[in-house]
Assembly symmetry: C2
Homo-oligomer: 718 residues x 2
């Protein structure tokens, strides 16, 4: 799977997005005086926010639209047109495309729907339009989208109720790229309520041509976009997407993502919505998290989090100090802190000492119940400011969370929290739980550009995600050139299809992963000789090209202790093969019998969207029962692999649980990393490879069984 370095888009895509977001001239096909029609509202909204470029209504039945000269066709305009908006019924779009092509339009924004999302007929028409565009060198945004804007260029082509209701386009720092137009509208509405603006806001619809990666690429380079928020249904080129996330991280921009289609039903919904294939969410999640992007599960929370990212300092650690005017609120919030995966802060003695002039000793502990402080103390000037500054200065406090319930002086309280966030290196997230009774406080925060979180859970979700983002680190493992050569050589000998245990283990051994010693024996004598050289007792396994699951046919014998037993079992295995119709007997594998304190599974598979994935599970048959597996990009380095293993529910089995020996975790991490590197190297040619069980006993690790599938015709990654 060849891919461009650094996830860059083709030069013409970059130029097209640049042009789409910064056009010198816009034509609106279907322009209308009726603001209830798309061609009416888009034209009106383009003019409303003071676009400085040329605007050309196109409508064959009118001389002027909304007071501006109208043209019967794009060709008739007689001037260059950067962007043509097509707001016409589906059946008139083909002629419009021909008109645009003849006029040399650069980018078409197609808001019309009833294309690929509506079935085969629509998909065919979409392909036809794409072909016209390709021929003419035009690029398309949409169809089935709601448009886009670039606030810093005063250029709005997004059709949204939120824009109709607001006088200005806030020039903000959050780049929003959304496959769904209606959700973009809802997110924009919340952003207005928070007083937060978008640098660009793009709705993509069916992505017939330009797609989320093209705009993500733009946002990464756009100096005015500090944080990037994505609503994604499906990603067309997973590798490019992941590379772009890595590039965003390299330039210090957080990418926050809501992914629809995480569940089966969501996947169906996505398919009929923008004709996207949602893909397998676990692979998406694993890749995106590994690349250091942030996943959020609700679109309104996405906006609150993205906004907070641009407005609040980063937490310095996971310990959250809760404050509330309500002791009950503090208690509820404290319960939620732990459930959000954060920790509760406690204050050091020095801090408590500093607080004593500000509150009675009985109140000087977290969570702060401001209501428990006598009124006269609270009413000294700058009291809250001093409390907050003192609290944040404690090295045991990573962040504050202020839960405002209905209380006196709410607006002044909000103003203090604004100042504290401006002048401290740690944040105090503000939750407005006073509903409309807290409206003045909300207005204060909005005016000052601090985020009003809607709930304690929303605020904690932000703090957790921000902290994880700040502390994310990935290290790329160094490739082992010698191993790579050995792997290619061995794999080159494989026949296509199922790879035998013997060969699969040779491959793993070439990658530097310990496997049980074993020999292939084609006769009783060979088997006895093999056993003697390996050491007693041995394991004997049936070898047959046609039989993949040996255990199911009685093809595995443990604890074979002497030569007579070897001969007897050799014959039994031969008979077992004969009982399976069509199966040949290709001999028998005589192997070292390994002992395990814990059995582990390591596997890789090839994901069509994201390439090689690495999976690790602990506990033999429990892995399947508990669905307790770590999934990582196969390129993951040792730290990421270690973290993922330690996060497994069954990790205590490796860590000295109930008197069992603690195993050598380094050996497991090393084996898993080598396994991943093997999968990266062989790419799609190795769609599956699994070592199960991997026997771990104290310091020793050895693969006792393995299988793989080999498809030499598939492209490699290199």
């Amino acid at each position: 799977m060849p891919r461009p370095a650094g996830g860059a888009s083709a030069p013409d895509s970059r130029a097209a997005v640049q042009c789409a977001l910064n056009p010198r001239s816009v034509a609106v096909l279907g322009a209308s005086d009726d603001l209830m029609k798309w061609g009416g509202s888009i034209l009106a909204l383009l003019r409303k926010f003071g676009f400085g470029g040329a605007v050309h209504p196109v409508n064959p039945r009118a001389d002027a639209v909304q007071g501006i000269k109208a043209w019967p066709s794009v060709q008739a305009i007689g001037q260059p047109v950067d962007v043509a908006v097509i707001a016409l019924p589906q059946e008139r779009t083909e002629a419009a495309f021909e008109d645009c092509a003849a006029a040399g339009v650069k980018v078409i924004l197609m808001v019309t729907s009833q294309f690929a999302e509506s079935g085969a007929e629509g998909a065919a028409l979409q392909d036809k339009l794409l072909a016209i565009a390709r021929r003419a060198g035009m690029r398309i945004i949409g169809p089935n989208c709601m448009g886009y804007f670039n606030s810093h260029a005063d250029m709005n082509l997004l059709n949204s109720q939120a824009l109709m209701r607001n006088a200005s386009l806030i020039k903000g720092e959050v780049a929003l790229i959304s496959q769904s137009g209606a959700l973009a509208g809802a997110m924009l509405a919340r952003a207005y309520d928070l007083g937060v603006g978008f640098s660009i806001c793009v709705s993509l619809g069916n992505q017939a041509d330009l797609e989320v990666c093209d705009f993500l690429d733009y946002a990464i380079d756009d100096a005015r976009s500090k944080v990037i928020a994505l609503y994604v249904e499906g990603v067309r080129d997973g590798a490019r997407f992941i590379d772009l996330l890595g590039r965003a991280r390299a330039v210090g921009k957080a990418v926050l993502i809501v992914k629809a289609g995480r569940t089966e039903l969501g996947q169906k919904a996505v398919q009929s919505h923008t004709a996207s294939l949602a893909g397998e969410f676990r692979a998406f999640e694993s890749q995106v998290r590994h690349a250091g992007a942030v996943l959020v599960d609700d679109f309104l929370e996405l906006i609150a989090q993205a906004a907070a990212w641009t407005r609040l300092p980063a937490p310095s650690g996971p310990r959250v100090a809760v404050l509330s005017g309500s002791g009950g609120g503090g208690a509820v919030a404290s319960d939620l802190v732990g459930e959000a995966g954060l920790q509760a802060a406690t204050l050091g003695a020095t801090t408590v000492h500093k607080l004593l002039p500000l509150m009675p000793e009985a109140a000087a502990h977290l969570p702060f119940d401001l209501g428990a402080v006598p009124g006269p103390m609270r009413s000294t000037p700058q009291w809250l400011r001093q409390v907050l500054d003192t609290m944040l200065a404690d090295p045991g406090v990573g962040a504050g969370l202020f839960l405002m319930t209905t209380m006196p002086e709410m607006a002044a309280t909000a103003a203090t929290v604004v100042d504290v966030n401006r002048e401290n290196p740690k944040p105090v997230a503000f939750v407005n739980a006073a509903s409309s009774a807290g409206a003045e406080a909300g207005a204060k925060l909005k005016a000052e550009g601090l985020v009003n979180f809607a709930s304690v859970k929303e605020a904690l979700g932000y703090l957790r995600n921000r902290l994880a983002w700040e502390h994310h680190e990935n290290e790329a493992p160094a490739p082992d050139a010698k191993a790579q050569a050995a792997i290619e050589k061995i794999a080159g000998e494989f026949s296509p299809g199922l790879v035998s245990e013997f060969d699969a283990k040779r491959l793993l051994a070439a990658a530097g992963i310990p496997v049980t010693r074993g020999e292939l024996a084609r006769s009783e004598d060979q088997a006895v000789q093999a056993a003697a050289s390996i050491g007693w007792p041995v394991v004997m396994k049936l070898v047959s090209a046609q039989i993949s699951h040996k255990s199911d046919v009685g093809g595995v014998v443990l604890n074979v202790g002497d030569a007579d037993a070897v001969r007897q079992h050799f014959r039994a295995l031969q008979q077992a093969a004969q009982r399976v119709p069509g199966a040949s007997f290709d001999g028998c594998l005589v192997q070292q019998q390994a002992r395990a304190d814990v059995e582990v599974l390591i596997g890789t598979n090839w994901d069509a969207q994201f390439g090689a994935m690495l999976m690790i599970g602990i506990g033999g048959t429990l892995v399947e029962l508990l669905k307790d597996t770590a999934l990582l990009p196969a390129s993951a380095g040792p730290c990421a692999i270690r973290r993922a293993i330690q996060a497994l529910r069954l990790f205590p089995l490796l860590d000295g649980y109930r008197g069992k020996p603690r195993v050598n975790l380094d050996a497991l991490v090393d084996a898993a990393q080598r396994f991943g590197q093997l999968a990266v190297q062989l790419g799609a040619r190795l769609p599956e490879c699994e070592a199960n069980p991997v026997m771990i006993a104290g310091d020793s690790l050895v693969v006792a069984d393995a299988r793989a599938v080999w498809l030499p015709g598939a492209p490699s990654m290199s």
Copy 2:
């Protein structure tokens, strides 16, 4: 633990609550013209909403307060006073209590703080005031609370910003009882925003006297309270609380509870807030769920859910039909449906057929993307109404969820959803995700009394809780009188303290639970004889009153196959006892060796707040690793026990996982139920009893080891 039948409060508590919520006269001690003071705002708010009874300001330094004649003391009033509000500094409260006592006040509402919540000194004063009240027959609400109201009596003594900002007290159907006053204020503010009223709203503070159960008791009987919402920090009398929840359910009133102190940090916060002991949350949760009440984890969600309970029809099943003006919104909501523990509805062929005049076939599937329906179809009159009615009529749809993003005609859409909920037997929960762009729709819903859910998650939480409540059923197991007599007889022979395995198993056997056959042998000969009569092989276990964990000292031998081995192990066990300093050798237990496909743990323990609890875990040592246990009230019946076992993550181990035999679940349920009944019968006398392992193989179940603690001095339940 004797308790009143049906959780009723003592008659004087009932009369006091009745009087407090429906007073004929109220005196306000500390009444002031300054509305920034408590004595000023409470008096003003009492008069604001048209209280019809007598109002007496008490202030020795004024002839009149807020234009009403003021009195120097309560005694000076010279008329009966039902409720005296004490809004005085802490140091003046004792004199005020004496004044009230002398004047024959019935109930004191004490908003003053700095009592038990502030430390030992405050606690001592609180006790002193309580003694004065007891002596005079007065009852207390508070201290450290914010008051209460009864909207239907136009009687407000709650001091809240939300009440200052609103012209009227909405006469509602939700009874709110909250230990925290500030949270009550925040919840009231949200209720105003939703257009929802409270019948009563009570803030309880330290509960020095009257407590949550007394008001819960009132709300259950109050015809105007249809749903009861509680914010609880700690429950003083767990058994009474649970009985009241049962009574609420019996009269068809849902009780929704936010419990603070679910985690360790929350527990500390609770302690310093209202001096409550939060107790062990798992026991609380288990008891409350079993009693059919509803747990919610956020106080704003509590109000939205309680409000919806009074306004929406109940879902008919777990399958939720999602609709949105946004295809992306529908996809995100569909993902969240499954994560909330609900299922996604699909439409039957008949329903799709009926929808075809209303939308293109490609759009006639769930989740509905209303934006995918061509405008001309959507604009026919009553279009949305017909779509919703048709969808709800499908027997596969249990409830609808309408996710409104920014879209045209939002207010009209909201009006339609209001009508649909009024005229259908199934609900459509409405989520307003359009922020202030959806303000008109929100106002419409508020005016019509339907709930604007703030997020998809909040709406789904409501649907899930409502459905669980509607389908909750508990059956009380029939007591086994013969077993009860046998249990008392055997337990009567126990010495206090640790009960030996032999005796613990006799107790379980008396309860009707199968235990391994075994005999106590005090000599080698006895041991050989016992083994012969039990059947080979046997298990041999050391018996020593001083040794509880036999395995740790090598005191358990499996697979003893013949008489010689019995003799040899008998001697070895004797030596093992001798190696433990101070331990006696009391012989050895010779037992049937049971086989297990799965090992199970069944245990009971005595919870100080809630009485006997039953615990069940599957999987031997995995139980502890995964903390995968079911916790139930010991009185649970077979259906509840079965549901709890089936909900365990490791349940597949019992259910034919990977070719293992499916075990006889009835036998396990029966054993667990008998175990629970045993614990209920013996009450606090049996603080702990555990059978571990319980060996299950196919149809057979037998307890292989057991232990217990016996405290005959503790009270029984009967």
